[in-house]
Amino acid sequence: MMVKGKVWKLGNHVNTDDIIAARYLNTTDSQELATHCLETLRPELVQKMEPGDILVAGENFGCGSSREHAPIAIKAAGFSLVIAVSFARIFLRNAINIGLPVVETSEAKRIREGDLLEVDFEAGMIKNLTQNSQYFWSGYPPFLQELIKCGGLMKWVRKKYIKSE
């Protein structure tokens, strides 16, 4: 899988309240959640972004609550991927479970707002077309690769448990 998009850069410790505030948790509608994505932190962002754009953050992205509304809002807003130096653990599993690609690499620090990236998941490579550089990351462990290949946890469950019943 290949993804190409423009970067929106965020800082360290972006929490799930920043990504989607609790006052919007009275809905599960992904499109509605998307309109409030990162509203507190960068109110203009969802209006200005284009589908396929890439979020890049520092350490501990998605810390705080377990609300899956956070990766859902990011995915529904049209972001193709999140790259961060590190992810909070529940956010990471939620993203993988719902099929929002995430890449954990310390190289995220070098990426700047507005950079154009091309990401090749199979090769584990990020091409920074703006800075004319390349970064590699180690990819996912085999178990997660299997989940991702299936298209997320529920598809994996359906394949493994429901079909075989």
Partner: protein, 422 residues
Amino acid sequence: MTITEKILAHHSHQEKVTPGEFIEASVDLVLANDVTGPLAIQEFEKIGATKVFNPAKIVLVPDHFTPCKDIRSAELVKKLRDFSRRYQVRFFEIGQVGIEHALLPELGLVQPGQLVIGADSHTCTYGALGAFATGVGSTDVAAAMITGRIWLRVPATFKFTYHGQRQRWVGGKDLILYTISRIGVDGARYQTMEFTGPVIDSLPIDDRFTMANMAIEAGAKNGIIAPDEITLTYLKSVITAFKMEPADLRSDLDSIYCQQIEIDVNQIEPQIAVPPLPSNSRSVRELTGTRIDQVVIGSCTNGRLSDLEKAAAVFLHGKVHPEVRTIIIPATQNVYYQAVKKGLIDTFLTAGCVISPPTCGPCLGGHMGVLAKGEVAVATTNRNFVGRMGHPESLVYLANPEVAAASAIKGRIAHPEEVVNP
């Protein structure tokens, strides 16, 4: 192996597990609430599932926006109610419901050695009873409701040893706030926080719940305290004829820890965490001038009976400051009832507090005490993120129940001794 590794090995039917390893483990209890449950049900239905793995092991707790604050919340709760009727899983109606992490232990639904997952980040609370308990997402819950299993990466364990003597006014909240300030909001990311040492050995169960509850605020996967006599006494009070088994629920002496720190408790004063991070903790004395508008005493962190007792003991010495609103939220119906019987509610009402039914309410800026622009609160909750309790320009300071009560009386951040022994 550590206690966490033992529990994970047992639940994945392996002799041993190693940090970093991926396992599929069986779950003893699956939890979701009115925010995360509807999404889980949506996923459950989307793939055409028609039965749950075991109705007795699934609990749906509508606690965040209940009593329902608006039509949409009512629709979400109805979704849980309908699902629970259809699949015979446990659902708690208003009148029985409480904040999930106070409610489940109180009902005897969590035991040492169990593996509990919940679509709520503070599920780690149950580690206080020697269970492996961790917060997951809604999709995880949907999958677990079908399969009875969860995928996990085995965490490495970070050991915290507490020595010395707790000062007066220092409880579990202060110990954990201090600990998080030492290691940062991601200081234990992906790891287990194992709390040990002489201070923990004599720490009351409610304070242990408070500590395990906030493990997530340091990024941990779970917090855990090996079960002992205090655990046993508590479990006997909530489960008839409870017997502790399995017995081998302590970390082996040759356990491998990724990090260890020793904490000298003698030095720790009552703490207060300055917004916007739970790790910004300082001694209350450094901030005693800060003016406040609201005090909230409640939540899954500090809404239990002993928390209310501590707050009430302070309110016996003064009334709520005329410019402050004070909201008391007993965490469960039972806590509320006990508080009435013990005369605590009387004390609160006389002091000028308002009592809310059990709910998460203002803890997440939901309802029952949301802050306006520029307002400042002291709360016994666990998160002081930007806008957590309302307007993005409102502020939340985190503290223990006595500090919160003293602040309510003074109209500014205050040390309890300013009120109790002035």
